[in-house]
């Protein structure tokens, strides 16, 4: 059965058992995948009846969220007008574009294919390389049973970007993935799966975007980053939905011995976003760096629940989130460093700094440590402050307008985190994104 032969009307709003069955009819995938969906859907229904984990959700108000208003699309929508901050600004070794949950277009260089690299959309990859993906997909990093959102995602995932890099293969040019939402009320359940075998190296830049400012959207996503021994992955996700999109995601990275994961998160868009982000350092000497740049305005709520889990000795984690808030926006960051008993000589660091541009914005930063080993160095910190009026006055004395001064101070505030990002395109993109959000620039 091909997806194109099913008329659009086969799917209706909501996520009821009837919708689920109709959804399965639109899919053409291996039996183990369908089986996984059925199990996950059962879990989803169970989890819906249970309360969410208070520790994770008590600061995020979901009362206005109506899942029944959103629907999966089984048509791929040609959205040529998706605004992207990165796609046209660099040469990529490959790109994948999804719109409304479905693969729309993409490319990958012949050279990469010849080196055994797989890069493409998850739905096709499952049909063509299902056996290779099965051990990695939703087993090691993001599991269906974590909560209602992970189960919901596992039952209904539609597409997503897959990158598989064989052992010893190094990709110098970045790869690019765009997740778009176009039609009003569309739901995107995309699943990003990156597998780097031992000694492999790659960079994947991913961004989310809405075709229009006023189409309501829903993203229930998952990101799995599997970094092998001595492998190096740089992954960027720039969340840039419109202000009418709900964004929920489970994102998890696992790093093998002496491997390194550099993970950069940009949180700019969405009405409400809650991201459960885990970094697991599994092998001796593994390293994880997390850079977060978030900028919330109007009544946006951006929430991050981060965990840095040290499971092996000599592992290092370093997390820095910087939030700027304006208007009545709200940011929540709840961070945890966990160190297992055997993970001696680990070095864990987490920090969150918030800059409030208005007295009506609010931020909550709650760092935490759970340490079972006795020979470790773990530190954390959080600061929150307003723009210093003396800084603004100083800049104004040099001819900058008040807004210009504020903007410069905001960009300066983010600079210390963007300085950590080695990919120039990403630094530039974040600068541009911040400028747009501030209302200057193009």
């Amino acid at each position: 059965m091909s997806t194109a032969s099913i008329p659009n009307s086969s799917l209706t709003p909501g996520f009821s058992p009837e919708v689920f069955e109709a959804f399965l009819q639109t899919r053409d995938e291996p039996a183990w995948v369908t089986e996984g969906r059925r199990e996950a859907f059962e879990l989803y229904q169970q989890k819906l009846a249970e309360p969410l984990d208070q520790e994770e959700w008590k600061r995020v108000d979901l009362r206005a969220f109506r899942p029944g208003k959103f629907q999966l699309r089984d048509d791929s929508f040609n959205a040529g007008n998706l605004g992207t901050l990165m796609l046209d600004r660099a040469d990529f070794a490959g790109s994948v574009v999804h719109v409304d949950g479905h693969y729309a277009r993409g490319s990958v260089s012949e050279e990469l294919k010849a080196r055994g690299v797989l890069f493409g959309d998850l739905a096709t990859m499952m049909r063509e390389h299902g056996d290779s993906l099965q051990p990695h997909f939703a087993t090691r990093a993001v599991q269906a049973g974590t909560d209602r959102f992970s189960a919901w995602h596992a039952a209904f995932w539609t597409g997503g970007t897959v990158l598989y890099v064989p052992s010893g293969v190094t990709i110098d040019e970045p790869l690019y993935s765009l997740i778009g939402l176009a039609q009003d009320g569309a739901a995107d359940f995309s699943h990003t799966l990156v597998i780097l075998e031992d000694d492999a190296e790659a960079t994947l830049l991913e961004e989310t975007s809405s075709a229009t400012e006023d189409a309501a959207g829903l993203h229930v996503g998952a990101v799995e980053l599997l970094v092998g021994r001595n492998a190096r992955l740089r992954y960027v996700q720039l969340q840039n939905w419109n202000g009418k999109t709900w964004h929920f995601a489970h994102q998890s990275g696992r790093v093998g011995a002496n491997g390194s994961l550099q993970w950069t998160v940009g949180g700019l868009g969405a009405k409400l976003a809650h991201i459960h982000q885990d970094v697991h350092l599994d092998g001796r000497g593994a390293e994880g760096q997390v850079n977060g740049v978030t900028f919330a305005t109007d009544r946006q709520v951006l929430s991050y629940y981060t965990q840095q889990s040290h499971h092996a000795p000599d592992t290092r984690s370093d997390l820095l989130y910087k939030d700027v808030l304006r208007d009545k926006a709200r940011c929540v960051w709840r961070g945890m460093i966990k160190v297992d008993k055997e993970a001696q000589q680990t070095d864990g660091y987490q920090r969150n700094d918030s800059l409030l541009l208005s007295s009506t914005a609010r931020c909550d930063a709650i760092p935490g440590l759970e340490i079972e080993a006795d020979d470790v160095r773990c530190t954390h910190g959080a600061t929150a402050g307003r723009v210093d009026v003396e800084q603004v006055f100083y800049a104004m004395c040099r001819g900058l307008t008040r807004y210009e001064a504020m903007h410069m101070i905001v960009q300066g505030f983010f600079q210390t985190v963007t300085d950590r990002i080695p990919v120039e395109l990403v630094r530039d993109t974040l600068d541009k994104a911040v400028e747009r959000k501030l209302g200057i620039g193009e």
């Binding site: 900058l400 008040r402 210390t416 620039g441």
Partner: protein, 271 residues
């Protein structure tokens, strides 16, 4: 000729009157020294001229070339040619000196520029910045550093003079620019001021010390006491104050001296 007029200026900070009617006129090409004991209102005058919102102008006016700028924001005054070299320059982390100055210089040269409009061409700006830095004996690496972040006291003061050199103001107020500097640094700063102070710029040097005045000889020296300018003389007055302190000034102006004493007692009582 460009003229900065300060006419019967009265300024309060948190409703407390500090300046009680200051009159001063500075023309391009002139160097004025403003001296006076601590608490006499020198820095208040500097901040009020620059347009700090905390310094409330309750009477009188500030005019640039006959235009009343009393109601203008600091950035508008800066674009018209007002410049304050801060006694304590502010640090702005993450903002590179070059980026900051390129915005500032563009706004100064194109006062009508709106935010987001073109900045002056990078190449032109860089060349000019490099020249000014070399003249001030500054490592050009400073252009890439974050504004005043981790700078020593002397480096911050040089950065103020660099900004002045780039902005080419009509009127520069140097608020204790020589404090905390060793004599070599004072010389560099003075040379910088000298180079700029020619016929195009008027300078008001606020200082406790004589060192800056040795290099930048004032045509006028003003002495402030209890929020008023009580005496005006030439360079020799500055030398006299430096040698003898303010005792004789207080003797010559018993009314203001008494006022100064009352204010000190009040502020002590409120501690």
């Amino acid at each position: 000729m460009a003229t900065l007029g300060i006419i019967d200026l009265q300024v309060s900070v948190e409703s407390k009157p500090i300046l009680k009617g200051v009159n001063l006129e500075i023309k391009a090409g002139e160097v004025h020294a403003l001296m006076g004991p601590n608490g006499s209102g020198k820095s208040t005058l500097a901040y009020a001229l620059a347009g700090h919102p905390k310094y409330e102008i309750t009477g009188g006016s500030i005019e640039i070339d006959g235009t009343d700028v009393t109601g203008l924001d600091a950035n508008e005054r800066a674009r018209l040619g007002m410049f304050l070299a801060f006694q304590y320059p502010v640090t702005i982390p993450g903002v590179r000196v070059a980026d900051f100055l390129r915005h500032a210089v563009t706004n100064r040269r194109d006062p009508e520029r709106k935010e987001g409009e073109n900045l002056m061409p990078m190449r032109e700006f860089r060349t000019e910045l490099k020249e000014r830095m070399t003249e001030l004996g500054m490592d050009t690496e400073f252009a890439r550093r974050y504004l005043n972040d981790g700078f020593s006291g002397g480096e911050k003061k040089r950065m103020e003079i660099l900004q002045m050199a780039m902005l080419k103001p009509k009127f520069a107020i140097l608020d204790e620019t020589d404090s905390g500097l060793d004599s070599d640094a004072v010389k560099v700063v003075s040379e910088g001021v000298n180079r700029l102070s020619g016929p195009e710029m008027g300078v008001l040097i606020i200082t406790h010390h004589e060192r800056l005045l040795e290099f930048n000889k004032p045509q006028f020296t003003h002495v402030m006491l209890a929020g008023r300018i009580v005496e005006t003389g030439d360079a020799s007055l500055a030398a006299e104050l430096h040698a003898n302190g303010y005792a004789t000034v207080r003797e010559r102006h018993p009314e203001e001296a008494a006022e100064e004493l009352t204010e000190q007692e009040k502020s002590l009582a409120s501690v």
